[in-house]
């Protein structure tokens, strides 16, 4: 919008409109955004948040950037998601559930009828309220422009992505494994402590916070691009661990795409050994 005032040209830039949407998930990633207490007042000066059901009344279908949280598990959600894609210029997957399907995929191990019966009883199929589809990440349905990984997302990742988008840049993608973050955090390796960990093949960007606080990397951020599976299986061997044990850990977060993605299965030691065996 350009306004002319007494020969002086004053440019008034309309604030970019940002919307947040939430599908099948715990809404923890939206809360992580609300947890940016220090930065929130600044953010609100640079964008107009038009949709954020958890924190505000009022909805609109006019927005440029859509942050989508949660995975897709219902027909209704598929329809809503496609509409978001049509409206938004940029779609960002917010957190593990939307980026990779996340933990929700554990449900996919069972037939959907059995899933419904276990929770809602014998007559579950009679009611629409309990309808459920096998869980999918959002990019299995629409094109996603950018990803913020993690369960939950790290605050810094969100702020970095938003800043880049506002400046018209492409948000940087972290291509390191978590081990890099872990070394920088000065942690003792989980394998040294006699435990196993998904850090070597998981995408970094979390500052290895789980290991810092005494746990292991559970792989919530998904596989790093071109994971070095050989090195990982060497590490496993060195510590006397079997690939099978680590595969079970993988499917905590990796189930959705792991089943479908041939690349991961072909490269992983477990599958390779099976193929050799044939």
């Amino acid at each position: 919008m350009v306004a002319k005032t007494r020969g002086l040209i004053m440019t008034v830039v309309a604030l970019p409109k940002v919307a947040f949407f939430s599908f099948t998930c715990c809404e923890g990633c939206q809360l992580m955004v609300l947890s940016c207490e220090k930065e929130l007042p600044d953010i609100l000066r640079h964008v107009k948040i038009v949709n954020f059901r958890e924190a505000m009344t009022g909805k609109t279908d006019d927005y440029e950037i859509a942050f989508v949280e949660g995975s897709i598990s219902r027909t209704e959600e598929v329809r809503k998601l496609k509409k978001i894609r049509k409206t938004a210029r940029t779609v960002v997957a917010l957190g593990a559930c939307s980026a990779t399907g996340g933990l929700n995929c554990l449900k996919n191990r069972f037939p959907m009828e059995e899933v419904k019966k276990t929770v809602y009883g014998r007559n579950a199929s009679r009611y629409r309220a309990f309808d459920t589809l096998p869980v999918r990440a959002i990019d299995e349905i629409i094109k996603v422009d950018h990803y913020i990984h993690g369960c939950p997302i790290p605050k810094k990742d969100f702020l970095r992505t938003l800043t880049a988008l506002l400046m018209g840049k492409v948000p940087e993608v972290n291509r390191n494994p978590v081990c890099v973050d872990c070394k920088m955090a000065g942690n003792i390796c989980v394998f040294e402590k006699g435990n196993s960990c998904l850090g070597p093949v998981t995408r970094a960007g979390c500052e290895a916070v789980c290991v810092t606080y005494g746990a292991i990397c559970w792989g919530c951020r998904g596989l790093v691009d071109n994971p070095n599976m050989d090195a990982h299986s060497e590490t496993l061997e060195r510590y006397g661990l079997t690939a099978a044990s680590i595969m079970q850990k993988f499917d905590l977060y990796g189930n959705c795409k792991l089943e479908k993605s041939e690349t991961i299965c072909q490269h992983h030691p477990v599958t390779r050994r099976k193929q050799k065996g044939r």
Partner: protein
């Protein structure tokens, strides 16, 4: 006075999760009233099946982003009771401290971000920032401190990291705890401001007799420990909780509802304050006195006041816990190993009320069956009953005001729909 009303609030806002309210009134009588939970069901009970015991708390934490510490705690207590694991005193205190942080964070988020905008007719905290900048900033400051507690003790608030079967995996340093204590002591002004503000707009007078269920503990205000106690049934054994409190499905909602043998009951801050008033800290009782909250209060709108009262209590308890931890350490401790297998129950008070987890764990350490009873599911029937009595009484008001009052009433319960399956919209049909 008009006699007919059709309300259909689609996806009620400023609550956690997705839900609708449908109300149809003919000739002053409620013909239909439904709280439709349209949140996509998550099926956690199924997701846990076949997983190792040491993953269970990690998975169950993901039920809800707001009460992740409570779900983790209930899950850990269930695992530890099934596998005969006794955690150390320090571990228990650190877990409680993290829990206090969550209670504060959840109540502050609800009161400042979701309820206060209602009181001034704003649509969100963003508008509250414009009309009451001082107050909004206070809210953010309080929330920051609550987050700091969880971060220092358990790595982060949303899906805590260090809480694990057998104890805690991380011990904060004495200096960090002292820093937290300083921050906590500075919260008083902010909490008093919140109390003054909520009292400046009197709560609607509306009362309905009901049963209150909350944990009762011997030595202290029941939050992390204790056993269920009902204002009408008295003590309920944890093993018989699911026999007494029956969950049932309603066809329009992906969250179950629940009833006790006495019918409708309420869980949450008001239930706890009503049942355990004497065990609150002195400051918390004083705050309740100033706010005119005398137990038992049957007004659901007072739940918001009860939340602020509990914030005073949680602050005091956190300070006491820090002092006690500093006295014995803090020193790193190894986690305890499982000694048995079988069935275990874990109950804690989540910010929104009594939370129940029960697992069967087999000899390989694998979870064979899981059952969870969630606070919001237990409150849904109470919310519907309240609306049924409340709406006919305000029919003479303009439609937009009725709609707003309905949302305000539902919001007072601080429903957490992600938890109950995940909640809400109000629709006038």
């Amino acid at each position: 006075m008009k006699k007919d009303l059709n309300i259909n609030i689609h996806e009620i806002t400023r609550v956690e999760g997705h839900g609708n309210i449908v109300i149809d009134i003919r000739n002053g009588r409620v013909k239909e009233l439904k709280l439709e939970i349209i949140e996509s069901p998550r099926f956690f009970e199924v997701m846990l099946k076949g997983r190792k015991y040491d993953e269970a708390h990690h998975i169950m934490s993901r039920i809800c982003g707001i009460c992740a510490v409570s779900h983790t705690s209930a899950s850990l207590k269930a695992i530890e009771s099934a596998m005969s694991i006794r955690i150390s005193k320090q571990s228990a205190m650190l877990r409680k401290l993290s829990y206090c942080g969550e209670l504060l964070q959840s109540h502050i988020l609800h009161v400042f971000f979701l309820v206060f905008p209602d009181l001034v007719g704003a649509k969100s905290i963003v508008e509250l920032f414009e009309s009451h900048p001082e107050l909004a900033r206070t809210g953010l400051k309080l929330k920051r401190c609550a987050n700091d507690i969880c971060e220092t003790v358990s790595g982060r608030h949303i899906h805590p990291i260090s809480l694990a079967p057998g104890g805690v995996l991380f011990t904060p340093k004495a200096g960090e705890l002292k820093g937290l204590k300083k921050e906590l002591l500075r919260l008083t002004d902010g909490l008093e401001r919140a109390l003054d503000f909520i009292l400046s707009v009197p709560a609607p007078s509306f009362s309905m007799d009901r049963e209150f269920i909350a944990l009762k503990d011997k030595g202290e205000y029941g939050l992390y420990g204790g056993t269920p106690f009902s204002s009408k049934l008295k003590h309920i054994k944890p093993e018989s909780y699911t026999k007494k409190i029956k969950e049932y499905i309603v066809p329009y909602s992906s969250a179950k509802q629940a009833r006790s043998p006495k019918g409708t009951f309420m869980v949450g801050a008001l239930a706890r304050v009503n049942n355990n008033f004497r065990q609150l800290s002195t400051r918390a009782r004083k705050a309740a006195f100033v706010a005119g909250l005398k137990p038992p209060s049957y007004n659901p709108f007072m739940n918001n006041v009860a939340q602020i009262v509990e914030c005073f209590h949680a602050t005091d308890e956190a300070v006491d816990l820090i002092d006690a931890i500093l006295e014995i350490g803090p020193r790193p401790e190894p986690v305890k190993k499982p000694a048995a297998y079988g069935t275990g129950i874990g109950i804690v008070e989540a910010p929104r009320g009594l939370l129940f987890h029960e697992y069967d764990i087999n000899r390989d350490g694998v979870v064979e069956r899981a059952e969870c009873v969630i606070p919001t599911a237990q409150n849904l029937r109470s919310i519907e009953d309240d609306l049924r009595a409340f709406v006919p009484a305000i029919l003479d008001r303009p439609r937009s005001e009725i709609s707003r009052s309905i949302e305000t009433l539902v919001r007072a319960y601080d429903p957490c729909i992600s938890c109950s399956s995940h909640i809400m919209d109000v629709s006038f049909e």
